[in-house]
């Protein structure tokens, strides 16, 4: 069976529920990146993000015939499973925070970035690493809204559907999460400012 261009997620799910491997492959390739990135930002670990992604699509295979499009989009359905898997993988209950995975901590060589000014590239990488660590340090219920809304640019209403709570809760948690990030980054920046105090010059 040939895959039609722009076939909807719902139609792919219907076909894969009937055993169509092409449909499953198409759905996986279309949606796995967003699921992986959500898990990566939530866990800080590429390995855990891989595990979560695999579990999400295994769950889709098992439950495809039960998917009801009237209850929400396929994307929201997958993210709902991903959220559950993230919490399960990490054994999180509510307010635990995380340390960044060493693999992400090291990053790649900033001097090979495309920036014209290497110093800009270094500064950018430092900013990214700092923000990544700050996001991971957020409590899980703030982290997930920041990841969905600010990092993956998902609309509040869709995020509310994915997370299973009212849009007002999404807004309030996002606001609180952002404030926590600002405070965290302010504390990170403060020692750097203090380090700038010039030492006495020795003749």
């Amino acid at each position: 069976m040939t895959l039609q261009k722009e076939e909807s997620d719902e139609h792919l799910v219907s076909r894969l529920a009937g055993g169509d491997e092409t449909a499953f492959t198409a759905l996986y390739r279309r949606r796995q990146g967003a699921i992986y990135r959500f898990a990566l930002h939530m866990t800080g670990s590429p390995a855990l993000a891989d595990d979560v992604t695999q579990e999400v699509f295994m769950a889709m295979l098992r439950q495809a015939h039960q998917f009801d499009p009237s209850r929400g989009s396929v994307s929201a359905y997958l993210f709902g499973i991903a959220r559950h898997q993230v919490l399960k993988q990490l054994g999180l209950r509510r307010f635990e925070s995380l340390e960044i995975d060493d693999h992400l901590q090291s990053g790649h060589d900033a001097l090979h970035d495309s920036a014209d000014d290497p110093l800009d590239a270094v500064a950018r990488q430092e900013t990214i690493a700092t923000v990544r660590q700050a996001v991971l340090a957020l409590p899980a219920h703030y982290r997930e809204v920041v990841v969905l809304c600010d990092l993956q640019e998902i609309e509040y209403a869709v995020a509310a559907q994915m997370l299973g709570y009212p849009i007002g809760t999404v807004r309030s948690r996002l606001h609180r999460g952002r404030r926590l990030l600002v405070e965290k980054l302010r504390r990170v920046a403060a020692p750097a400012i203090a380090d700038l105090n010039p030492a006495r010059c020795v003749p």
């Binding site: 169509d20 295994m58 600010d150």
Partner: protein, 186 residues
């Protein structure tokens, strides 16, 4: 809060938004490792995604759930002697090491207006071979239950009812299933 404070807060939030955007751009192309897709496709082809439930086979779970809902959907419990349906004298179950196609006709045996398929071994069931004795339970199930066996069923037929006979070993585990078709059905 003074206007300076408000300006400071606004500046911090703009800086944060900029930083988050940089992080999002940095990770925009991150994807799952290739082995994840390979593992999923392997599972899909084996049909092992239908075996992921721990404990009882999926077929048995669905059958049990339907029994609770339908109530009278279970009827006709009978002890099955292999080979009895072909009209020959019943043989001792113990003497039959394997319920071969000869013992259970492959194309089904006509019993009045019914046609029965051969038993399809269930995942986890250990097959239908070497059963010393067995029980057959006739049930009415939705066609969607066939999906768990890896059978492609058009979605519009999922809610249709069908009759099936489930073969249980003496250990109580479901070993196989066969479909019951009325002689007038297509």
């Amino acid at each position: 809060m003074t206007s300076d404070d408000l300006d400071r807060v606004a500046a911090e939030e703009r800086a944060l938004a900029r930083s988050l955007r940089q992080l999002a751009e940095e990770t925009a192309n991150e994807q799952a490792s290739s082995h994840v897709e390979a593992a999923l496709l392997a599972a899909f082809r084996k049909g092992s995604w239908s075996r992921e439930r721990a404990g009882l086979p999926t077929w048995l779970l669905r059958a049990a759930a339907l029994l609770l809902v339908v109530g009278g959907g279970v009827w006709g419990l009978s002890r099955m002697d292999f080979g009895a349906r072909d009209g020959s004298a019943p043989t001792s179950a113990r003497s039959i090491a394997r319920p071969s196609e000869d013992a259970i006709p492959a194309t089904g045996d006509e019993n009045g207006d019914e046609i029965l398929t051969s038993f399809v071994p269930l995942p986890y069931g250990g097959g239908t071979a070497y059963l010393e004795s067995a029980h057959v339970v006739r049930m009415e199930l939705p066609r969607s239950a066939l999906v768990t066996l890896g059978v492609a069923v058009p979605e519009e037929q999922w809610t249709e009812r069908m009759q099936a006979e489930v073969l249980f070993g003496e250990d109580g585990l479901a070993r196989g299933v066969r479909l019951v078709k009325r002689g007038t059905e297509n």
